[in-house]
């Protein structure tokens, strides 16, 4: 095949392709992901294309064209790709070129040449032109012709959508090495940092984008990620936050100018309002107040105003609350409790809003880390998470044959058994009722797995019993004594009005199935025992116990049940 398909000739980048914004990133020789700014200096490149007298404008240059040249400006088209016309929601594209039916797919009627005629340009052609511009920007920056990429897509992107994107990318001269999902890319972006420590944790990736919100609950076990639940919402969005500001300023404008018409009812006025409100929203993420200023908003009247963050927080309150409920809903969908969540990664441009982070933080216990610029100094810029993850993945697989990548991501490899319960040892007492469970392998860990832990032994040493068991996570709810009230639903997480008698919820373990017992004799005073557990895909367990610094040790095998399933 051509040189492009030769792994040694590859120049690969990461691309995040969104409805509102796209970005490009590469990985440096030292393995650090860097987001590339295009020739306009934008790292967040608007997914906009506009045509003026046959000239193609892209990104930040195309976006303002929704004011003067809305009909020939295409925006918010990512989710139309690979879709049938009847299944798309064209709401976001109302102010730009409208989507029309073209055979079974979607197209836009635009004047994209110098001729005075309108052409039907399919969404796949638009996508490929957009990707071409992204590829060019990356090539110019890197000084090398980019020819391949890892592209991020939402978790609910269908195969048809991926196929369509793959085709459009090919037309843009990009060989897609792999599609990876946006939330996983975000987790990877954090895990690939040099100071990141590998740990078993449950992560929620909450992406508040422009036209949609996507929440994913991910189990990260030894650097392997499993998506436990996802929630997608098209109502709680960044565009709705813009709308809140648009309504506010439009009303203020009408108060000041009694005779003027509503700028929201004028196509140009609306477009100007919209652009400016997005800018105001961004300014409010950084500063505590922002200026709104539009020349000739409607009827030739200029309008300037200011807004402070407190006011905006109040205006957006409903949406922030709705977003945090979505996050909790995803946790519930994964059959988990907020206490189980180690980290919440806030992604998407709107996660820069401090109030979004604080509202989500309030829904989780203090033990949960909220990774957003306003809550954590080590947070990565939310808009850059997906593209950084993509760039890292691109650098990992760039030397592989495409066939190898395809085979590796095949279900035969990716579908693996996951532990239904945590496996660990009992401390303090061998009795299941009074022992304290110490997890070694967490629940939802993919098999096979190997884990090692060091556990303490009784102070005086001597002969020690090590009991391997399954542990079930349990949420213990303690209500304060004084005023017992009607029982609260555990899952109803939005009920903390009654501050006085707030219940105390904590995570405890219940001991389940006991798997095995082992004896280690003559442990030194204060000695520690190293426990290594191997669990195979057949659910067989191979355990090794050894006193730290001691010799020998005990090895035991528990037969797997998977082969003979059904008898139990």
């Amino acid at each position: 095949m051509s040189a492009e398909n030769d792994p040694t000739q590859r120049v690969a980048i990461g691309i995040s392709f969104g409805n509102s914004y796209s970005s490009i990133a590469y990985t440096t020789g030292e393995g650090r992901a860097e987001v590339i700014a295009n020739e306009d200096g934008d790292r967040q490149i608007p997914s906009f294309l506009s045509y003026v007298e046959g000239e193609e404008l892209h990104g930040g240059q195309a976006k303002p064209q929704i004011v003067r040249n809305a009909k020939n400006t295409v925006a918010y088209f990512r989710d139309f790709l690979g879709q049938e016309f009847k299944s798309i929601d064209p709401t976001a594209a109302h102010q730009s070129a409208h989507a029309v039916q073209h055979e079974s797919t979607v197209a836009f009627k635009i004047r994209d040449t110098q001729e005075e005629t309108e052409n039907e340009v399919t969404v796949s052609t638009i996508t490929s032109r957009h990707l071409t511009r992204l590829r060019k920007s990356a090539s110019d920056y890197l000084g090398k012709a980019v020819n391949s990429a890892v592209i991020t897509v939402p978790t609910n992107f269908s195969d048809a959508q991926k196929d369509a994107l793959n085709k459009a990318a090919k037309e843009a001269g990009i060989e897609v090495l792999q599609f990876i999902s946006e939330p996983t890319a975000a987790v990877l972006a954090y895990d690939a940092r040099p100071d990141a420590k590998l740990a078993d944790k449950i992560i929620v990736v909450a992406d508040l984008g422009g036209t949609r919100s996507d929440i994913a609950v991910i189990a990260s076990r030894g650097g392997i990620y499993t998506v436990l639940a996802t929630v997608h919402d098209y109502e709680v969005t960044g565009l709705k936050l813009d709308q809140v500001l648009m309504d506010y300023f439009a009303k203020e404008f009408l108060k000041k100018n009694k005779d003027a018409s509503d700028p929201r009812e004028d196509a140009r006025g609306l477009a100007k309002l919209k652009l400016e409100c997005e800018a105001v929203k961004k300014a409010l993420s950084i500063g505590s107040s922002a200026n709104f200023s539009v020349e000739s908003l409607v009827g030739g009247i200029d309008y300037t105003a200011t807004i402070n963050r407190t006011r905006y927080d109040l205006l957006g309150n409903k949406l922030f609350g709705a977003f945090s409920r979505l996050v909790l809903h995803a946790v519930e969908k994964a059959n988990l409790d907020p206490l189980d969540i180690t980290e919440v990664i806030l992604a998407g441009g709107n996660a820069n809003t401090p109030k979004v982070a604080s509202t989500v933080a309030a829904a989780f216990p203090e033990t949960t880390t909220i990774l957003a610029p306003s809550t954590s100094s080590s947070a990565i810029i939310p808009s850059e998470l997906a593209v950084r993850g993509a760039a890292i993945q691109a650098s990992l697989i760039q030397e592989f044959d495409l066939e190898d990548i395809e085979q590796s991501s095949h279900p035969a490899v990716t579908v693996t058994p996951h532990l239904a319960h945590a496996v660990g040892v009992l401390c303090i007492s061998g009795d299941e009722t009074s022992g304290i469970f110490h997890p070694i392998v967490e629940t939802e860990t993919s098999l096979p797995v190997r884990r090692t832990a060091i556990i303490a032994t009784p102070r005086e040493g001597g002969d020690v019993l090590i009991k391997l068991a399954e542990g079930l996570r349990h949420i213990k709810v303690t209500k304060p004594e004084p005023k017992p009230k009607a029982e609260k639903d555990e899952d109803d997480s939005d009920d903390d009005e009654s501050d006085e008698e707030e219940e105390v919820r904590e995570k405890t373990w219940k001991v389940g199935n006991v798997l095995s017992e082992a004896a280690i004799r003559g442990v030194k005073k204060g000695g520690k025992v190293e426990v290594q557990i191997n669990i195979g895909a057949d659910l067989g367990v191979n355990a090794i116990y050894r006193e730290v610094g001691g010799k020998g040790g005990v090895r035991g095998i528990i037969q797997g049940s998977k082969a003979s399933n059904g008898s139990a």
Partner: protein, 53 residues
Amino acid sequence: PVLPEGWTGEKEFKSIGQLSAANDRNIEPVGHHFLAHARRKRHKRTFSEDDRI
């Protein structure tokens, strides 16, 4: 915990129960650790065999 008096087991080990049935789930084909997993699975290697390479 302290070993109870008179505890015996073959080679100091006694198997009592089995793990509960696992859930089959899809792991994300992303990241360094996944690639290591895929390599082991495709070559049918165990962890320790993989360590030796």
